[in-house]
């Protein structure tokens, strides 16, 4: 039987080597360890300028206002007045509809975009030759419940639109050039990346924080993360979102306006029948008119004033010479 002997010298050398290896491994681990996960995303940060989905302007066809009780007929007319959906969506293009699906509430309380509007705009996009229509939002409440209870899911399904429920890998940290708040912040990016055109579908409603929620506030649903921190600076984040996303078109539904207890409301008693549909290539102008449905002036909404100063649109919507029409169909 052979005895495995090791000299004292060898033992000390091996122990020293082992010690150095352990220390080096620990040092490397310590150097690589990052306790703040937020810092880990820096290497994936996308610095962006505006995400521009707009189409070339056509003189005299920037904004339309249609009066009538039925969303499907008023929105069709409003888009037609601006040159039809063919002006905005070309054959083979992918389109993203961004409704307000914030709450898991029935469509009757108008806390969310109405499914009739989703259905009709989806149809118009396909009629114009769209390859695919997607619908996305990052709701306040559970996304699946929101899309189902608002009946937006069924409207989308019936008309061939695909709902992109927010998933973690759809979000990406974005830094907007010149922004103070959208810096390395999670944005619902993948749906925007998939498409050629973006159409905002918003509603006019009272909002305890921002006074009014309309087309510009609707982009709040593209934010991920703990976005409630922006409630302290709501006007600034609304303006920065308008800087980030220049949509192809916004459609602002003022058929039934939530005039009290917004943004959730909860009852038809919070609604006023205003029978108004607005389509606009200028979201500042659309919201400036929308404000009047809440008995507000553009100057009452600081984010509109700021947006105009930054050249994002005009609060003087009359200067755009909006096209007016009245339709009678209830559909």
């Amino acid at each position: 039987m052979t005895q495995n002997k090791i000299s004292r010298r060898d033992f000390i050398v091996r122990c020293t080597k082992a010690g150095f290896s352990a220390a080096a491994a620990a040092a490397l681990a310590g150097w690589l360890y990052e306790s703040d996960p937020a810092k880990l995303s820096v290497q994936f940060d996308n610095i962006v300028d505006v995400m521009n989905y707009s189409t070339p302007s056509v003189a005299g066809k920037t904004m339309s206002i249609v009066i009538g009780p039925g969303r499907q007929t008023t929105v069709t007319k409003a888009v037609e007045l601006l040159g039809g959906m063919e002006r905005f969506v070309k054959p083979g293009e992918n389109v993203l509809l961004k409704p307000n699906v914030g709450f898991a509430m029935p469509p009757r309380v108008c806390a969310t975009t109405h499914p009739d509007l989703i259905a009709q705009v989806t149809k118009l996009c396909y009629q114009a030759g769209a390859k695919k229509v997607f619908i996305a939002d990052n709701p306040i409440n559970d996304p699946k419940s929101c899309f189902e209870l608002t009946q937006i899911a069924s409207a989308a399904q019936k008309n061939g639109a695909e709902i992109l429920l927010p998933r973690q890998d759809y979000f990406k940290p974005i830094t907007l050039k010149g922004a103070e708040l959208i810096t390395n912040w999670q944005i619902l990016y993948e749906p925007l990346k998939k498409v050629d055109k973006v159409i905002g579908l918003a509603i006019v409603k009272d909002h305890k924080r921002s006074i009014a929620s309309m087309s510009m506030k609707n982009w709040y649903g593209m934010l991920g993360g703990n976005r409630s921190i922006f409630h302290q600076d709501i006007d600034k984040i609304i303006v920065e979102l308008a800087m980030l996303i220049k949509p192809t078109l916004v459609i602002l539904d003022g058929t039934q306006v939530m005039v009290s207890n917004g943004p959730t409301g909860g009852s038809e008693s919070d609604l006023k029948q205003a029978n108004t549909m607005i389509a606009s290539c200028d979201q500042v102008a659309a919201d400036s008119f929308g404000a009047s449905l809440l008995d507000l002036k553009p100057q009452d909404l600081p984010y509109l004033v700021k947006a105009e100063k930054l050249g994002l649109g005009t609060t003087d919507y009359q200067s755009l010479k909006p096209l007016y029409a009245q339709v009678t169909g209830a559909g």
Binding site: Q168, P173, R209, G225, N226, S260, T264, E268
Partner: protein
């Protein structure tokens, strides 16, 4: 010697193996970190478990045998209330909000008929009354069976004890509304320990008073930051809407101080002092943007009336209000 070489080779192989494992761990960490989702998103947050009391209140049987719960009880606290009600959270947070529990109940026969029940724990009856009165709908029908409650065509709202309840319905079906009203009764019975009387209700004159129009405004009443804890009531006089209000002040000096602050606020914002000859020593009348305020102090109270109405109507209500305060012995 051969054995020693063999042993050394084994040691070397083991060392390489360990190094390989470490490299694999290193690569795995890098890959994992690449896929971090940085801030917490609402979609990833879980609400807290419901308390035993609320589990009992929002039981499976709350809506009777024809309905069943469509989800588990959701619980929200002051940190995540916005995830449920977004911008309306401020109203509750400013009024002593403790927690919200809610649950949706769906009809067994039609999934399209459902109701969502919201139970707000407001810590005090006064807080519950403040959020209840602050959201009063104009088109409503009062619930005859409880002190503070009303229904609309598609919802029910009531304050009982320290709680504020809302039931939101998916349709305006009369059957659904009746079922929801029965559920609301059960909740009120469970929550109501003793009737709550907002301190000022009995001070307000009853002539021309709009029924159930009492409000408790906790902050920024009439746009003035200093006007806190103001009770108000609406009046309808000759077709005009008037508001009478009284501050919940502790003593005469704080009432006087609030009087001065609110009067100063009106003047600083462009208000004009109106001369008026009424039998109310120490009162002041200010007109601002078409609304006239008549302000006065009585005993330990600062009070007033306001509205876009002829000064005579405002004065009459102010005198009646002051007399009511003077004569009050409660």
């Amino acid at each position: 010697m051969t054995e020693e070489i063999k042993r050394n080779r084994t040691h070397t192989a083991i060392s390489y193996l360990i190094l390989l494992v470490l490299v694999l761990i290193f690569i795995a960490i890098i890959i994992k970190q690449k896929h971090y989702y940085v801030p917490t998103s609402p979609i990833s947050q879980k609400s807290e478990p419901a308390s035993p009391k609320t589990q009992f209140w929002l039981s499976e049987q709350l809506f009777g045998i024809d309905f069943k719960p469509a989800n588990e009880i959701e619980t929200y606290n002051a940190d995540n209330l916005y995830e449920k009600i977004d911008g309306k959270a401020d109203l509750y947070l400013q009024n002593g909000f403790v927690s919200l529990q809610c649950r949706r109940y769906a009809s067994n026969s039609s999934q399209e008929d459902w109701a969502e029940v919201y139970v707000y724990d407001m810590a005090k009856a006064k807080n519950a009354f403040a959020v209840y009165s602050g959201q009063m709908r104009s088109r409503k029908q009062l619930l005859g069976w409880t002190q503070f409650g009303y229904k609309t065509s598609d919802s029910i709202y009531t304050a009982a004890g320290n709680y504020y309840f809302e039931i939101i319905l998916s349709s305006d079906s009369n059957g659904l509304l009746l079922t929801a009203e029965s559920a609301a009764k059960r909740l009120v019975d469970l929550a109501l320990k003793e009737p709550f009387e907002p301190f000022a209700i009995h001070f307000f004159p009853t002539d021309n008073l709009v029924t159930n129009s009492f409000k408790l405004i906790r902050k920024d009443a009439f746009g003035c930051a200093e006007m806190e804890n103001i009770f108000s009531a609406a009046y309808s006089v000759n077709g005009n809407s008037l508001t009478a209000f009284i501050a919940d002040t502790q003593d005469g000096s704080s009432a006087q101080a609030l009087f001065a602050k609110y009067h100063g606020f009106l003047i600083e914002n462009g208000g004009t002092e109106l001369p008026h000859n009424i039998d109310m020593p120490g009162s002041k009348a200010v007109e601002l943007f078409g609304t006239t305020d008549i302000l006065f102090q009585c005993k330990n109270f600062f009070a007033g009336v306001r509205g876009s109405a002829p000064i005579e109507d405002l004065t009459k209500l102010a005198i009646s209000f002051k007399n009511s305060l003077k004569n009050d012995t409660k």
